[in-house]
Symmetry: C2
Subunit: 450 residues, 2 copies
């Protein structure tokens, strides 16, 4: 592997230039900005790095950039990435313009550099290093780079179902991840599922004077009572059967979570909160974060919300919620149970609409691929990797673990101050080199160990 690592060390600055090209192209899926251009640029970069690529349309969605290259072994590693980024707003909080990449203090700043254009280029650099150092890859690879991850990947599950033969692989390296505050690499083996729900109650045809409150139904109160019926003040979700399909963690998963270093003080200070939910601390906090489903009010609106007072009785009230799901909960099942709950509790007037949702996903801790990614990280980073059985976030991982039926592990170029989704998003240049080497080490170990 020496020559491969040497190639990375000798050529990483050229790769950074390519990353800057990719970062200079806005690709904001939520706003439909620059998507086609970013797909074309990404496909071109794959070609430049030696990976034959194609742009595959998805009906109604942004195209998928696909690439594949055969290696010495029939073992095939699938790289999952996305070329879209979060909106850059609020622009005034950026130190430099979000789509004009700039380097300062050993960091590269731009929207999408951490999430996850940096990961696209580290993977390409690792591939190119093998091709230049050895002429061939140790294993076969495929790239699946989608363009709507930041808006919930609504078209990806269908794309994967319809392209199972094309995408057939033995394991998947997920986007995202990096080192923790102690510079230990973190590898994640699962994501929560998610389902977004809108609840709406309507009253009179227009806002009316609040002197009528003794006789005219108030949709804001109806919504309050409906929401209150969904979760109690001790954070118990009260929908009948909500917890039925929660799979108990294995002793190994609990052990892995217990081994995750605590960063709760940093986090508490950063959030500016006195205490975590229910006073959670230490291992309890970590277990809760990774293993518990959640029901969040994302927003609520009704009536007059400006300065001062207005004696108005509102004509509608709306709430947006998301449910974070853990294995083996399913969005459709949760929505059906929520509908039944509202009817049963006398809230037939609450109109429910729900999105597509994403299933939770988890790769077993004892998966050989997880061990390969972990061993490669230990070798490259020189410290003991942190293995997270799951993350608190969500993503389209289920289509890989359950439709393609392959193990998935995530590892990436980020650091705890990378500010994904926020102004001054950044990666450290040192992490860029380490992450490219980690990808190379994974490719090498897949051949030897799998």
């Amino acid at each position: 592997m020496e020559q491969v690592y040497e190639y990375i060390e000798a050529n990483w600055l050229d790769a950074i230039d390519d990353l800057k090209r990719l970062l200079s192209q806005p690709s904001i899926s939520a706003q439909g900005t620059g998507i086609q251009e970013a797909a074309a640029l990404t496909a071109g970069l794959l070609q430049e790095y030696g990976v034959p690529s194609r742009i595959l349309p998805t009906p109604g969605g942004p195209p998928v950039v696909y690439g594949e290259l055969e290696g010495d072994s029939p073992f095939t590693l699938l790289f999952y990435n996305h070329y879209d980024v979060q909106p850059p707003e609020p622009l005034e909080l950026w130190s430099t313009p979000p789509f004009e990449p700039s380097i300062a203090d050993g960091k590269l700043y731009a929207r999408g550099v951490s999430d996850n254009k940096g990961d696209i280029i580290t993977r390409l650099l690792a591939v190119k290093a093998f091709l230049r150092a050895r002429g061939r890859l140790p294993v076969s690879i495929k790239f699946l780079i989608e363009g709507e991850e930041e808006v919930g990947s609504p078209h990806l599950p269908a794309f994967i179902r319809e392209n199972q033969a094309l995408l057939k692989s033995d394991a998947c390296l997920w986007e995202g991840g990096g080192v923790n505050w102690d510079e230990r690499p973190t590898i994640t083996l699962g994501l929560k599922g998610i389902i977004n729900v809108d609840l709406e109650v309507r009253g009179a045809v227009r806002d009316v004077h609040s002197s009528l409150a003794a006789i005219v139904p108030n949709p804001a109160w109806r919504l309050i009572w409906a929401l209150n019926s969904i979760k109690d003040a001790d954070e118990n979700i009260l929908i009948a059967g909500f917890y039925d399909d929660v799979r108990p963690p294995t002793p190994e998963e609990i052990e892995a979570i217990e081994a995750i270093p605590s960063e709760e003080e940093e986090m508490r200070a950063n959030l500016g909160i006195e205490r975590f939910l229910k006073g959670l601390k230490g291992v309890g906090l970590q277990l809760h974060s990774i293993l518990e489903p959640a029901c969040t009010i994302n927003g609520i609106i009704s009536g007059y919300t400006g300065e001062g007072s207005k004696t108005v009785l509102p004509c509608y009230a709306r709430a947006k919620l998301d449910f974070r799901l853990v294995p083996d909960q399913r969005p459709d099942d949760i929505i059906a149970k929520l509908r039944k709950h509202l009817e049963k509790h006398g809230f037939a007037d609450v109109v429910l609409s729900a999105g597509e949702g994403e299933n939770p996903a988890r790769t077993p801790l004892d998966s050989p691929f997880a061990r390969v990614v972990s061993d490669a990280a230990r070798e490259v980073y020189g410290s003991e990797p942190i293995i997270k059985p799951g993350m608190s976030g969500s993503g389209p991982m289920f289509s890989f673990t359950d439709i393609l039926a392959i193990p998935v592990a995530s590892s990436g170029v980020s650091n705890p101050d990378s500010r994904a989704h926020a102004p001054d998003e950044n990666i450290r240049l040192a992490d860029f080199i380490l992450s490219a080497k980690h990808v190379a080490a994974i490719l090498d170990r897949c051949k030897v160990n799998l």
Copy 2:
């Protein structure tokens, strides 16, 4: 009285011209527009109609226009009115500009014509009719015309407390009121009290990603639970002691309410609701409307409320409420009980702020002044008056019934389609004449009967 009525019939069009002058002067207390100009114009109109007037400053508030004129009898009738109006918005829904009075189909349209500049001029016209027909008024009169009724009269109670000698009177004719759909005059003897409350809960220092929902407190949920603890889904207000001071209605009050003609179908259709609160109908609906206190959510806001979904955990949540109070509830007492309630139920994190509030007010049905106003209405309108022991709305009536300690009855120039507070506010010209005659008949009967 023939000559008095004849004067009104012969000169009402001139009075309409004066009303148009008053209506052309914007006087929007909520926006601080034209207040001083409207006070000066109103004081001038009093002078023109033969009532010596003064503009009295109120510390921190708009001035009060005061006028007085002695009559044949020491009995003194106080006219309560206000020269301010509601904001005219939404402007695009007006058929003609709100501050350019226009006549069409026997109606006069302008902001404030029903509420309550029309009442100012009918009262002045009645006064002038006596002065021109008889040379003197049958009783003494006083005018108190304030400039901030539409924003809750925050400075009026102090003004009245400090000017009790000046304002000393034997009865008060309140602004507002008119005929119902069947052309029957309506006289009201009370108002509900009101207190506005803001509730706020704060969480993290900024909105955070909702993947943290399993461990970070959500102020929106806290607010939901706090609100739910205040009122249950059967509309019971759960604050300990909230109903303690509710004075049971007298048999006469219940009888009077039972005699009020039902207009619930018109109202239900107008509001576009299937049913009233709790399925109330008929007498039950009227009793509830007039006698029951209420707790209204005027508005609520938290987090993301735009299109689509956003996986955000909000950093604050706010609600605006008003409580409508009935005799003998008091705003201060209700706020103290609400504070105690929140603490007792574990919502010490909910920050409560409250306005000044207004006490409820009621004049007894058997008050001789109420009979005078009612008999005068029967004579002028030629139909049986409707007597309402109270209204569902609020106003600064308590300072008159309880500080000045005089009976108060309201009667005015409006009709059920007068659209007070709404676009195309209007009065019917025929009602203008009737209302002026009604005021004259009241003045005459005060001398004879009181």
